[in-house]
């Protein structure tokens, strides 16, 4: 436990976004709202990855026209979580495009977007 709870404020925001995403997936009936819940979950995970690599009082890990006290490697933010978040964002875009294509096809086939009525596997 820390002395002050509000030091971990970005992590508390990540926990609230995760809870919001899981609520939208589990308790909503429209198929598009379920897709939006999955996107909220993906955004929360990317925020958690980037917030793990922060150094207090640090600068961006780029050498082009940086301020002169950023040349010390102890003053720069960790660059590895930022590189892994790039990959995660692109994969999230690909997954959500595929999900929306399936939603369009389901609407053409069943005529409705209610998840309680899309039950049987019809030929």
């Amino acid at each position: 436990m820390n002395g002050n709870i509000w030091v971990n404020f970005p992590f508390i925001v990540v926990a609230l976004l995760l809870a919001l995403g899981f609520y939208t997936i589990g308790f909503k009936r429209n198929l598009i709202k379920v897709v939006i819940g999955i996107e909220i979950l993906e955004g929360a995970v990317n925020l958690f990855l980037v917030a793990l690599g922060y150094v207090r009082g640090g600068y961006a890990p780029i050498y082009t026209l940086a301020p002169s006290e950023a040349a010390n490697p102890q003053n720069m933010v960790l660059p590895t979580p930022q590189a892994l978040t790039l990959t995660s964002i692109v994969i999230g875009v690909a997954v959500s495009a595929l999900m929306l294509a399936f939603a369009v096809n389901i609407y053409k086939h069943y005529g409705t977007l209610d998840v309680t009525k899309i039950r049987r596997l019809r030929g």
Binding site: T64, A70, A71, I89, V90
Partner: protein, 156 residues
């Protein structure tokens, strides 16, 4: 939807967006950005073109555009740049860096400097190929979502 405001704004804004996306792709080794980010900005400029024109114009314009060829060139070029390291080193080794090649082969002064475009090694080539792949992929997705709706007349 093709109102007058959207048509006029698109004529002014679209070249600016496309040039900005190309700038982000090309300067990926100096400033924040790179292949994926610049490809997404370029695809959003093309999406503006798709939204602001009529159905027949978009269909006739993008039938001639070789989007699948562009994506394949991007994928094969990225793999080819990675296989350049087989000549003496390992897979994915940066063999053009610090070597004095004509294009993107210079040396970077260490420490804080204003960026020089001639540096980078295989990094700018990989940025360009990945940028081509991402813009072709995202534009194909938006185009196929637009073409299945089949609006035969304008909205207004």
């Amino acid at each position: 939807m093709t109102t007058t405001i959207i048509k006029t704004t698109t004529k002014i804004l679209t070249p600016l967006i496309l040039v900005f996306g190309s700038y982000i792709i090309l300067h990926g080794h100096l400033t924040p950005g790179g292949g994926f980010q610049g490809g997404a900005v370029f695809a959003s400029g093309l999406a503006l073109l798709i939204v602001a024109n009529k159905y027949e114009t978009v269909k006739s314009l993008f039938e001639k555009a070789p989007l699948s060829v562009l994506e394949s060139i991007g994928a094969v070029g990225f793999l080819g740049m990675a296989c350049l390291g087989f000549a003496g080193y390992t897979f994915f080794k940066n063999v053009i860096a610090n070597s004095g090649f004509l294009l993107f082969g210079g040396k970077t002064p260490s420490g804080i400097n204003p960026g020089y475009l001639n540096t980078g090694g295989t990094l700018p080539y990989m940025n360009i190929f990945v940028g081509m792949k991402v813009l072709a992929g995202l534009t194909s997705i938006i185009l196929v979502f637009f073409l299945i709706m089949r609006r035969e007349r304008d909205e207004w």
